[in-house]
Symmetry: C2
Subunit: 202 residues, 2 copies
DNA sequence: AATTACATACCAACTAGTCGGTACTGAATT
DNA sequence: AATTCAGTACCGACTAGTTGGTATGTAATT
């Protein structure tokens, strides 16, 4: 049985398995054996690619971050000309994502950092970096929309970006608790309403 | 050495230890031995009080819920007459709580349900119950405020309650990621602004 | 020939949970 | 008032299985 030897592919398989398992069971409850089994790789293979479980966690956070960048960069709302429309398009896009399976739309970074923030500094840092990068990306559109529609507002674009992410992360928690995205959808609609009020057309 | 034998006290010690440890390390990473050590109880004592670790998780969620009821029932803003003021008072109260240590203000239920929702049904249920009860409590003031200030609004009081909790839960995630409450404070101020806009004085 | 990319077997430490025993309590019996 | 006795509260050693990680081997690639 000739095994294909493709280092990058094996690594990606491990990271994908880690992403899915950690989203479902959390970081601590996901074992290296779990990940190996799901990825079809043995322990030896795992530790060839990653020095430790923690380092895999960091790598998984980075990979998730990159995946997110691609998804949102390719999303249809990016084509809209008005930054306000792009921002609301982003929210609508995230609401639409709630139609998928719960394990598909929740955030690996938010899930991991909850458990890891005090005990796994590297993982915490990687999650923070990923979430902060996403906020910064969003903040561009927010800043542009502010200049157009609310130049005198006292809030900062960055704080609005973090607020958006807070609502989304919190909405995921309720989706998990209720095993249904209904409440999350409602929360994101409130968020949308708030953003509309921040950038009101005169 | 005469041991004081107070069953309830021992149980409470175990639940308090569990609360603090799980908030810091998460549910899975917190071992029964950890909890026993922190509570000054042996394994035998632990399993005398709880059938399993999961059952402790459920009990800890319930205890946390009860504690929250007491804290908010005794909070100063409850004395305000206007339901809108009470609601904003609640937000201000939660913002003030962010001045304490991170392990003191985060939510055990939100932390646990993230890890446990798919693998520990009893824990998930207990977390859901606690969070839902808190939302219902909030929803009373929201409903009263709505009747006074926004009788024709299309949103439901319950959905606003869940939105508030989503923001708070999400804010905790960022407080953990950043190891600082600054972003959380900002997010809760945005939340406050939104609530003000929902219940505008004419 | 050397290096890379795995597989296999293994280990020490840790895991939730068990079990036999002990110490104290309070009510019933003597 | 002393004694018995059942029940509760708790201890701590133990177990079977799991954990992250290692040591060593080997086939493919360079």
């Amino acid at each position: 049985m000739a095994r294909t030897r493709n280092s990058l592919e094996t690594r990606t398989k491990l990271l994908d398995a880690a992403r899915d398992l950690i989203r479902a069971k959390g970081y601590s409850a996901t074992t290296v054996d779990d990940i190996c089994l799901a990825a079809g790789v043995t322990k030896g293979g795992f530790f060839h690619h990653f020095e430790s479980k923690d380092q895999l966690g960091v790598a998984a956070a980075e990979q998730f971050s990159n995946m997110a960048v691609q998804i949102f960069a390719a999303a249809p709302y990016q084509a809209l000309e008005d930054p306000r429309d792009r921002l609301l398009g982003y929210i609508d896009f995230r609401i639409a994502m709630l139609g998928a399976e719960i394990s598909q739309y929740t955030c690996l970074l938010g899930t991991m950092v909850q458990e890891a923030y005090a005990t796994h500094p590297g993982v915490r840092e990687a999650c923070d970096a990923g979430m902060t990068a996403h906020v910064r990306e969003l903040a561009h559109d927010i800043e542009d929309a502010k200049l157009l529609y609310a130049p005198k507002a006292s809030w900062t674009s960055e704080s609005v970006g973090y607020f958006i992410q807070s609502v989304i992360q919190g909405a995921f928690i309720f989706a998990k608790a209720k095993q249904s995205p209904e409440v999350a959808v409602q929360s994101m609609m409130h968020l949308r309403r708030y953003l509309e009020s921040l950038f009101e057309h005169q």
